[in-house]
Each structure stands twice: as C-alpha cells, then as structure tokens.
C-alpha cells in the first residue's frame, strides 16, 4: 500500500460521524462558482456602467419628461418644491439609472454586495441630492 493510500485509509477510519466538531462550517466543502456565474461576474460591471450611462445621459424617457407633477406623493411634492421641476426630472432619471445598475451588480456579484451598496449611496449623493451651494443660492443666503 502506498503512503498516500495509507493516509487516506487512516483519515477514513479516523472520521467519527458522531463527532459534532466534524461538521463545523469551515470543514464543509465550499461551493465553487459555476462557469455561468463566473461569466456573469465578468460582464456585470461593464453592463451596469452601460445601463447607467444609457438611462442617465442617452435615453429620453417621456414618462419623466412629461411628468404630471400634481399626481406625485406629498413627500415627492416637498422635494419638488425645494429643487424645482428640472432637477426633479433629472433626479428621476438618476434614481432609475442607479436602481437598474445596482440590481445588475447585485445579481451578477461583479463586485461584493457591500461595495455596490457604498457606490449606490455615493451615486445618490452626487446625482440625486441637491448641492449645498445650489440650496444656498435658492434661498438667497450669502
């Protein structure tokens, strides 16, 4: 019997199925990503960027451009009053772009989920929230 076979034989004999320590999470086999999942992860990043660019800068969405502001919820109306109609429409484009691209990143796991979340927060700060300068200008405070 070779050394390797002896070692394997000893391992099998040594395994005690009634020992709870044998079933710790670290000892279980890890599930590897399938080929399809690996491809999804590679494509996810570029796809998310493309979706963001298309929605935010390229595509015209009549639903937003011809928005009926009267039908908005109270919360949205309050935001509209602060930032104005043009900025509100851009915010809608931004939110849709951020939403769609983040879903792609989360599904494809192109980057870790928490990193996608951090990018979402940053994107919302830049693309959706009004700049402090603009708010100060709007309220005529110098």
């Amino acid at each position: 019997m070779t050394e390797k076979n002896k070692e394997l034989d000893q391992e099998v004999q040594a395994f005690d199925p009634l020992d709870m320590n044998n079933y710790k999470v670290e000892k279980l086999p890890k599930m590897e990503k399938s080929g399809f999942e690996k491809w999804m992860a590679r494509l996810g990043g570029p796809l998310a960027i493309l979706i963001f660019i298309l929605i935010y800068w390229v595509v015209d969405i009549p639903l937003f451009d011809n928005l009926d502001f009267e039908s908005l919820s109270d919360k949205a109306q309050k935001r509209l009053a602060v930032i104005g109609e043009e900025a509100f429409i851009r915010a809608c484009y931004a939110m849709l772009a951020i939403f769609c691209s983040s879903i792609v990143l989360w599904i494809t796991e192109s980057v870790q989920s928490y990193l996608t979340s951090l990018m979402v927060i940053l994107a919302i700060v830049f693309a959706v929230l009004p700049r402090r300068k603009k708010l100060l200008r709007n309220s005529d405070i110098r």
């Binding site: 710790k24 999470v25 639903l63 949205a76 935001r79 939110m95 849709l96 979340s117």
Partner: protein
C-alpha cells in the same frame, strides 16, 4: 438599520455564551425519542431560535453539527443518503427560513420591508405584534405542512430509517451537552436580557417604546462592563451585510423621495391593461406569485424586498387600495428562499452537507412554494381580511 445592527449584538449573546447550542441539544435530547419526535423538536427549536437570532445563516450554522450527527445515527452519513437525512436537512432549511418569516426581527430583509412600508405610510402604525399576529400562525401552518409533505409524501421514511442505526448514538449528543457543564451565570443573563427585550417588543403597543429603542436598551445592558454578557470583540456583526443593507435602505429612501415606484407602476399597469377596475384578487395573485417565484432566481432577500415592496406600495397608492393590502402579504413571502442551493446562504450551506441532490431540494422546495402560494391566498381571504389589511 439600527434595529438590524442591534439584533446581531443581542443574538451574539446567545451564540457566545452557547445558550443557543445548549437549548438545541437539550430540546432534541428531551423530545427527540423517535424519528417524528426529532423532526418536531427541530421545528420548535427553529421557531424559538428565530425569535432571538435575526440571521438565518447563524441559525443554520448552530444547528448543522447537531442534525448532521443525528442523521448519521439514523444511517445517513459521508455520502450515504436516505430519506431520514433528506427530511432532516431539507426540513431544517425550510424551518430556518419560515421561522424567520414569523417575526419582524426574524431577518434583516423583513426589517427593510417594514422600513419601506413605513416610509410610504408614515402616519400608519405598524409594529412587532402587527407582524406577529399575521405571520406567526401562517408560519406554524407552513412548518407543519412542511413536515407532513416531507415525511409522508415526497421522502416517506422506510421502517428501518425510523430507527437509530448506531447503538447509543444519541448518547454522544448527551455527552456533548454534559461537556458544556452547568448553565453559567452569563448564559442566564443573556437569556434574561433577550426575554426582557422580547417581552418589550410584544407589548410595544401598550408602553409605546418602539422596537429599535428597546433593542438599544438590551444591547447597552449586554455590552455594559460588569453587568453585561459580551464584549465588543465577541459581537459578531456581519458588517459587509450591514453595509449591503445600508445601500438598500438608501435606495429605498431615494425611490420614495422621487415617487419613482408609483410613476413606473402607473406606466407598467397601463401597459398591461391593469386599471382601477381590475379585481383586487388578480393584483394579489400577480404580486404574491411574482414575489414567491422570484425567490427561484434571486440570491438576495434584501434585493427582492427592495424591488417588490415599493412596486406593491406603488400599486396600492395608484389604485387607492388599502395600505399594506399588497405590500404586507408580499413582505410575508420574503423568506421563501429554500428551493435551489443558490437561492440563499443557508441553502448553499446545507447543500454542501451532501444529504440531498438538486432534484431532491427542487422537488421539496417547489412543492412547499406552491403550498405557500395557496396559503397566502387563503390568508388574504381570511386572516389578513379580519386584521383589516386586505379588502
């Protein structure tokens, strides 16, 4: 977010002091005298742990060594599969998830759903007991059906599978429990703190202190030097999941602020020919079905909540439906992520135990998912109506 984080602080008490492991071992040894007794023991253990531990993966990790040893005692081990093993592991997977659906704090995704709903309906009062009243009985019925479907229909036990195959096997679990020694003062304190928090959550409508504030109180006591049970380094908060949730919450707030779900829903419903004249039952079927079966494709409960809850809220507001008539039933279906190994972390973890195949988990999972759909329809016509959610 705070409730999410603090739930992990509180759950860490039970894990660090091993109170959760002691309870699980004690219960299964006391009541698991037969195959049925074992299955029912895990059902109860999962429900109790779901009250205290807000992460399904943590519960699965605690119980995994225990049910793996029991499966081995009943002849399923190291690649040797039998229907006892299939039932034990798949039912634990089901129970880990459905147990979480019974409680608002059962999972971070439940908390996100409630946050999204309360963000849209800020004047509406909805708390721990509101969720419990509707979700707990539904979860218990599903868990019992899960046992019946598994043991009697899909993976019926052969007579030899109902008896231990290893002489004195349960005695090894008894040795594990004995090796833990007597219950320590820290374990008693952790249980006392958690029971106190739970009682405060359940009686929230009477004393008026919201769930997050109660969790703060519990966490402060748990971490207090001299009085508490855990130090900061003992607290096992999965910060990557907290950051993930934070992004989801922020996205939800942004969607609320721009009314985007309502705008998109309006357009989508017009395109599908769904109007205010569409019977409520059609919308109910559509959204509960979408939520349930999306669990087959997605890996993240948080994401499914983030997508479907705002859409359901948008439809409620667009068609002047009662608040929560769609969004709450949809929220009750978040935890149905047990069909395929990639549907959730516990599903992936338990698949690696090698007690069942993809087709086993699909057969059992899709059957339970269809039963859950029927149950949520029944619930919509009965309990949810009586509680004033559905018309």
């Amino acid at each position: 977010m705070w409730l999410n984080i603090l739930s992990f602080v509180l759950a860490s008490m039970l894990v660090k002091t091993k109170a959760a492991k002691r309870f699980a071992l004690w219960f299964v040894l006391k009541f698991g005298k037969s195959a049925s007794g074992i299955f029912f023991s895990f059902l109860v253990i999962n429900v109790v742990l779901s009250m205290f531990i807000s992460a399904t993966t943590v519960k699965a990790t605690i119980l995994l060594p225990i049910f793996m040893v029991i499966a081995a005692i009943f002849g399923a081990s190291q690649g040797e599969r039998n229907n006892f093993g299939r039932n034990l592991v798949l039912q634990n997977l089901f129970q880990v998830n459905i147990g979480a659906s019974a409680f608002m704090t059962g999972s971070g995704a439940n908390l996100l759903a409630v946050s999204l709903i309360m963000g849209a309906y800020s004047s509406y009062s909805f708390g721990y007991t509101d969720w419990l009243a509707a979700a707990f009985p539904l979860a218990m019925i599903l868990l019992l059906l899960g046992w019946f479907i598994g043991v009697k229909v899909i993976f019926p036990l052969k007579p030899e599978e109902k008896k231990p195959q290893i002489e004195g096997g349960m005695q090894r679990l008894r040795s594990e429990l004995d090796a833990m020694g007597k219950m320590t003062f820290d374990e008693m304190k952790s249980i006392a703190i958690f029971v106190g928090v739970l009682l405060m959550w359940v009686t929230g409508e009477w004393h008026g202190i919201d769930e997050t504030t109660v969790a703060f109180m519990g966490a402060i006591i748990a971490l207090m030097p001299g009085i508490g049970v855990v130090k900061w380094n003992d607290v096992d908060i999965p910060w990557h999941l907290m950051l993930f949730s934070a992004g989801a919450y922020t996205l939800g707030s942004g969607l609320n602020a721009t009314d985007l779900p309502a705008i998109m829903v309006n357009a989508g419903m017009n395109a599908l020919g769904i109007t205010g004249q569409t019977p409520f039952i059609v919308l109910y079927l559509l959204f509960t079905g979408l939520m349930l079966f999306s669990g087959l494709l997605f890996q993240s409960k948080t994401m499914r909540a983030l997508i479907f809850i705002p859409i359901a809220i948008g439809v409620e507001q667009q068609f002047n439906l009662p608040a929560l008539s769609l969004s709450f039933p949809v929220a009750l279906l978040i935890e149905h992520v047990y069909v395929l190994p990639f549907n959730s972390k516990p599903a992936a973890l338990l698949y690696t135990t090698n007690h069942y195949s993809w087709s086993d988990t699909f057969k059992y999972g899709i059957t339970m998912m269809l039963i859950a759909w029927v149950m949520i329809l029944v619930w919509g016509e009965t309990v949810l109506q009586w509680l004033g959610y559905t018309p």
